[in-house]
Symmetry: C2
Amino acid sequence: MAASTLAEVARLAGVSLATASRVLNGSDRKPGQDVAERVRQAAASLGYVPNAQAQGLARSTSGLVGLVVHDIADPYFAAIARGVQAAAREQGKMVLLATTEGTPADERAAAAAFAARRADSIVIAGSRSIRPEDQESNAELAAELDRYCRNGGRVGVLGHPIVGAAALDGYHVVAVPNEALAAQLATTLAQVPGEFVIIGGPEGLLTSDDRVRGYQSGLAAAGLPPAEVLRASFDRTGGYEAGLTLANRISAARKANKASTGEAPRPCIFAASDVMAIGAVAALRSEGLRVPRDVLIAGFDDIETLRDFRPSLSTVRLPLEKIGRLAALAGTTGQTGAGGADDGTAIAGQVTLRRSTQSSSAPRN
Amino acid sequence: MAASTLAEVARLAGVSLATASRVLNGSDRKPGQDVAERVRQAAASLGYVPNAQAQGLARSTSGLVGLVVHDIADPYFAAIARGVQAAAREQGKMVLLATTEGTPADERAAAAAFAARRADSIVIAGSRSIRPEDQESNAELAAELDRYCRNGGRVGVLGHPIVGAAALDGYHVVAVPNEALAAQLATTLAQVPGEFVIIGGPEGLLTSDDRVRGYQSGLAAAGLPPAEVLRASFDRTGGYEAGLTLANRISAARKANKASTGEAPRPCIFAASDVMAIGAVAALRSEGLRVPRDVLIAGFDDIETLRDFRPSLSTVRLPLEKIGRLAALAGTTGQTGAGGADDGTAIAGQVTLRRSTQSSSAPRN
DNA sequence: CTGTTAGCGCTTTCAG
DNA sequence: CTGAAAGCGCTAACAG
């Protein structure tokens, strides 16, 4: 990695290091026209590329934004990443990507790596977990981030505060009203006849928990009994597995019913994320069940790539890209961050009913 | 960003800078047990986090892999990014992400930024363009990368060599047999009765061009005349627009035909990417046309997120993640790279027929 | 095995 | 307006 240095440029231009630096980088002091031109020429002829590491060391900033996600190929995270990337770009920064497969231990490692690289800010997009097995890693993550903030770093977290993190300055969380929106979705769906079932992520995954809880409270508000909750991994596979379970159950119920009424019940499923919902639908289909004819289902997120899916998925639209952008911007703009836990940045969602929960037979969407 | 330094740790531990460095980082020389422990304690109590910028400066490597994509939210790029990320991770590196929205000018900027950050290697995933308006930017990109390679950097490009780039050492391209696979797809589909139409990206986008050309040659090999080619942007929107055009045309043809035969022709569309295909299907549907009843369509890539799409999309499966991984690994392993243009890393695709091109009425998939 | 001492490439007072 | 010099934090010879 032996590129030419500022010193070489300076020598070639016949000026001092300081002068060369001043003309080649945005210094407040502007050297004379002639000198400047000479330096620029020298730089060009040498193919000079400033060493950002050295600049960073000297200026003690890196122009880096660290982003940690579970899986960049998951469209949910990809959407957020796009927002983060856009925000970073607007600020002339670059984003450093880390993937954790959802384990807090990896998140901790990523945070440490970002801190080591002196990232100006770090955005954590993976959902928080309070499962007992993650407790230790969470504590370490919190400690890592606390220190990072104390050293002047800024962290933006999506959805939930890091478990155990102090309400430090520079620590921001972009609050997402998962619970309220899920409640709203439930209320909207409450009029549907059949039985309600929820497919959620593992217990202790805060985002999933919020959505499940919200949905239940929405049902309760509508005077309905709580829905059964099936737990599975918070991804397509989990949705698929839960869907399989449900499919078997439904088929069995149908067989039993056929003898008597002839009229089959049509369960209404709520999957805690669009990705899970898609998995569930795939499973239902593989068992010969159809949506919405035999089963109704709704998801959460309104993933863009999944909007062309048929039947169109009822869901709650979340401004993922904006959420990512806000998290990346947290602390950059003159935010107070005093709250630590929640600075009230307004994220609005939107219950979006489409064909997958349409109980009438009239095809609409 | 004022974290504690190695010097502070050394002082606290009562050892020299060198010793502290040796115990805290993987040096080949191992200080004594007692001393090591003391240093570690000091580091822990101070919350010491090594400054990667300084380490990078001193060691003159950064542990960074630069990745440039058009749009990280596009599932095609997201899949590749996952591969790159995985490869980077295995090597203990982190990935720096840059987004270009497809413009070579931005690619150039990204390459420069990566070079400045002294990335150990850079992966370019966006498809190459030879459109006249991109000529200048391409030349600059090539120059930038040439210099980067000359300074010891390694670059991995997907699909096509950078236009104008020299066959430098360290410069690798992961060749993707787009043309051959498209031809194979066409041959497979050639038996279908109706008329063939291609929806391609703008002329000059190499990846798209390859696929279009391959498809045409496949048709030719089957004794069929060349298909008409509709051009649009190489994304979902482009597919949608082209789909709309086709939908109108088909509807018109149907009306005209109804009077005479009563039997409508069923065109077979080939979209140069799955994402375009999905857009086209959406457009066809919005106009009341159904797949495969009224129109057959095939895509390319076999994007994972789109596999649950119905009707299931006929396509050509590409090992996107592997491709990303190979590009990231290029040069890292003891590759020769002598070829410059193509080092024959074998990428295999797989024509995958599914329901969207099923001409028989029997639903299969 | 440990400590000293130069740098790595650039920024930035502080003089001139 | 320009130059000299002191670091930024760490590594890596080179001596003890």
